[in-house]
Amino acid sequence: MLVLALDTATELVSVAIGRDGAVLGAVQLAGGRRHAEQLAPAIEYLLRETGVHQDQLAAIAVGKGPGLFTGLRVGVTTAKVMAQALRIPVVAIPTLDLVAYPLRHTSRLIVAVLDARRKEVFHAGYHSVPGGVQRAWDYRVGTPAELVADLETHTGPILLAGDGVARFRDVFAELEHAETAGAEHSTPSVAALVELASARMEREEFEQPWDVHPLYLRQSDAEIEWDRRGL
């Protein structure tokens, strides 16, 4: 069973093609804010080099955030459009899970932290469970200092991972009992996306393209009060 996996919720464009949970090929580009320009050529290149025809794909897997707004939109939209055109389902996995999952063989509390810009981070905590990780709290956005204050109440050892940790190194350095995972764990793993998506496909846990929504943590239903406008 072939899956096209993509995540653009960080500064990176990550694409992979997987067969039965294993990666056949992967591309990762650090282009800053060039997701829209880089994603489609990367997909095209991978399909060609792995010899996979798009009609053979069983599903599109996508990292659905939380993440940087512009990139996230490009990735989720691309996944939805491709899935709809190919008449295949989408498997949407939270991007923070793609940071935590490769670290599942630790007994420590895993905290995935991604840079959310405006001096904030997206984060979630995870415990290892047989075969994967289980979230200890809901996906959140907040300042690094708030996260550190929350983590200070946790007495056990902590493993930090994700690009938000290096970005706010000084703040996280204040945490005792915490260690930062190696640099290879600073970005969401597209191999994890292939693996998690394939497992979901086997359990038939997928969504129709039109049901897929990015995970936005910054939402507001407030109206702007324009008392003086129109005068």
């Binding site: 804010r33 940087l68 707004f69 512009t70 939109r73 959310a116 810009r117 405006r118 001096k119 936005y216 910054r218 939402q219 507001s220 239903d221 407030a222 109206e223 702007i224 009060e225 324009w226 003086r228 406008r229």
Partner: protein, 158 residues
């Protein structure tokens, strides 16, 4: 700390903004409050000059966001045409805030809850004469505390 300063013409407003602009660092967010015609765009022009931006700066009322390339880029935002705070998130503004650029938000006081807490709040009010303006500058943001003295010096220059 809050400082006030008065200017007597658009040129003086621009010159003041230019001096303030020289204090800016990448990631700074300036929130401009003031009625139509108060001089929010004149102020932003001065900031652009300080950053070495030679392009013509006009209020992005219809484009909402405009970016100017420079060694420290300028992101100029005008939320006047927005009705819901969510539109600000939908513009992807969060991706631009607090990074390498300096962001100036006209009418930013209307959406202050959606903007970073670490920012400089500048209110522009009409003075007695037609061209007189009074600036009220609030340096509550954490990264501004260290620059308070420099801003106080600017405010007392007149």
């Amino acid at each position: 700390m809050t400082y006030t300063l008065a200017t007597g013409s658009p040129e003086e407003t621009r010159a003041f903004a230019q001096r303030l602009g020289a204090l800016l660092q990448p990631g700074d967010v300036l929130v401009l409050a003031g009625e139509m015609g108060a001089g929010k765009t004149a102020f932003t022009k001065g900031v652009a000059l300080a950053l070495g931006i030679e392009e013509q700066v006009a209020s992005p009322t219809f484009t909402i966001v405009r970016e100017y390339a420079a060694s420290i880029p300028l992101v100029h935002v005008d939320v006047y045409r927005l009705d819901h705070v969510q539109e600000l998130h939908d513009l992807g503004l969060d991706d631009l805030l607090g990074e390498e650029a300096i962001t100036v938000v006209e009418w930013g006081d209307k959406v202050s809850a959606a903007l970073p807490g670490d920012r400089l709040d500048i209110r522009i009010e009409f003075g007695e004469g037609d061209d007189d303006r009074v600036f009220t500058i609030d340096c509550a943001g954490t990264s501004w505390v260290a620059r308070r003295d420099a801003i106080a010096a600017l405010a007392s220059e007149r």
